[in-house]
Amino acid sequence: MPFLEIKDIYKSFGRTEVLKGISFSLDEGEVISIIGSSGSGKTTLLRCLNFLETPDKGTISVGDMLLFDGENKAALKDEQIRENRLHFGLVFQSFNLFPQYSVLDNVTLAPKLLKKGSNEEIDKKARDLIEKVGLTEKIDSYPCQLSGGQQQRVAIARALAMNPDILCFDEPTSALDPELTGEVLRVIKDLKESGSTMIVVTHEMEFAKNVSDKIIFMADGVIEEMGTPEEIFENPKSEKTRNFLQNSLEKI
């Protein structure tokens, strides 16, 4: 039984159909990368998983729990949505750190408010996470004093502090200067080594190739092609995948 199972997710905004039947599954400890051109629905898919958007149809289950069922989504209470969200973490393209809190407080805010342990335990865990992302010297700094790459690493530590089952990244390096992308990608790589289950939307093809167990290529709201990095990058079956990869190579 797969760890995360997504079946037939549909989502429209008004009359624009953005997701048209997305299904895939993920085992514990697997990393999946989602690639695809702008507007293909990658962000919308991650937002559905994090319950920032409500899918129109489909199901989402983690482990043996059915978190979302489009059949009776009206019955979903705020309380339940908050519970569901705890299975997922989301790292935003634009970091979205809380500017009025120090690095440490950014990481501990949610666990403390949601009483995920004693303050000492939470602080200890936060310090470990901050060390893991290499920012121990910056622990008392404020977001405005950090580079983009450092901010994004704090955002990763903040997401990890809530112990999500699955961590999602939405183009974590797109807002960064090229020389800062490496430090963030390295952190994600380390997380894979330590067994985190992750979904990464990215335009960094080399990174996707190296770190992922599976690649999903999305086009126009559907999964055009899914497979191992070798299958997608070396032998793409779909014409659209070939064109996309061709274009993204030309850009570099």
Partner: protein
Amino acid sequence: MFIEVVINLFKNFLVTLQLFGFTLLFSLPLGLIISFGSMSRFKPLSFFVKIFVWIIRGTPLMLQLILFYFGPGLLVSAAETGGVDNAFIDFMRTLNMADPLVTAIIAFSINYACYFSEIFRGGIQGVPKGQQEAGEVLGLTKSQIFFKITLMQMIKRIVPPMSNEIITLVKDTSLARTITVYEIIWAAQDYIRVDGLLWPLFFTGVYYLAFSGLLTLLFNYIEKKLSYFKV
């Protein structure tokens, strides 16, 4: 003589301060309510509130003062001629009899609440959506997100425009003399009329300067306290 004038003017400056203090006291919460009204997803409400704010901000405060001063009396006499009497007319009667300072406080509070509401609205809407979403994906409740994440960023955003508006209020209080509130400027003008002294009028500037200087220091202090982060 000098000391006497200074003390006497100070007594009248206290009237100015009362008008200032009560206006702030009432207009701040009222402004917050109006800002929520103008952001309401219930369209008729937000439309009505926006029209109201437009009227208040689009007409001179002096005109509003005069309306609040003479309006109730005119309504009451019209109602009496027409033989109408109800709770509203009764309320107007009370307003008509009220001390002009009370009338001024009401008019000022409504006027400033409308200005404040726009500042609050800007502050609330200026906090990026991503802040709320970051709180949501961490599993926080709506009220935790408001009090622990967005509120502080809002406050930081509104302090500079609020300090401007509040210092303007200090000086606007002198308009209340048009509806016979015996505040400091009027008292100083009496020195010209009764004693032929001009300097007390200019001397009133000292009180305004001292008070707005104090407020400026206070706001600078608050801004400095909040300067450890950027929004």
